[in-house]
Amino acid sequence: MMCDFFHSLCADPVNAIGGWFVLLPAAVLLLAAAASVVLRNLIHAALCLTLSFIALGVVYLALGAEFVGFVQLLVYVGAVAMVIVFAILLTRPDELERSRSFFAGFGPAGGAAAALATLAVLLGAIFTSPTGDRPMPPAVAVPVADLGKALMGDYVVALIVIGVLLTAALVGAAVLAMEDEP
């Protein structure tokens, strides 16, 4: 029993213990995400968000999507999280946050209630859906070469559009954040 467990864990963590391994990073993910929502200190929130990005990447890896997991880590941890902390530092990080007036009569509680209601609806839909209790098929490794061929073949238009979008975003962000030339 012990032997099987460790062997399968070492050989193939994705399929080990019937895929339940996902729950470990998922727990970290949800805790970190909750912390980043609740924390008042913006930098702490951003760091928790970074942790949740990392955990999300590990969840992807545990689901067998190796490439997406690494891309998630590279893009979110390496770029998005850093851009967020940069933005926090360039604006004033120590300014006290005022309470939200969008739900003027309800305050933050209103927002939380709305989010909870959404959660209830989503969970209800998920757990009543007929396809929901589909069992997990054994993981099949996706060769990176196949992904590349698909990107350059069937999805090449989407790839080019993404390229244009990223270029536009890069130029746009640079122009927006540029100091006005005197």
């Binding site: 993910l29 098929p137 099949v140």
Partner: protein, 102 residues
């Protein structure tokens, strides 16, 4: 392990992102909430790919990759806008950017 559990995780993540957007007033917190929601969406794509009977169909993975790229672009532009707003209004509270109201 069933699809429901992964989708449930993703739903909780989405609601957390939504809660961040609805309860916080700091513009960067809003952006962070949006990133969480996008992550939840990506998780859904990957979950459906993982549990699909045809593992050779790569649409789920590719969609997730595209979505990550779009999220990166969105974060860059969004934060540039926030910095610009801060420069003009000296505030990053979303409620302060109300000059256009009639």
């Amino acid at each position: 392990m069933t699809l429901q559990i992964v989708l449930g995780i993703s739903a909780i993540l989405f609601s957390l992102g939504l809660a961040a957007v609805l309860t916080r007033s700091h513009a960067i917190m809003l952006l962070m909430g949006i990133e969480l929601m996008l992550g939840a969406a990506n998780l859904n794509f990957l979950a459906f790919w993982r549990f699909s009977p045809d593992p050779a169909a790569l649409a789920g993975i590719l969609f997730a990759i595209f979505s990550i790229a779009v999220a990166a672009a969105e974060a860059a532009v969004g934060l540039a806008i926030i910095i610009l707003v801060y420069r003009n209004l000296r505030s990053v509270e979303v409620d302060d950017a109300d000059q256009l109201k009639g």
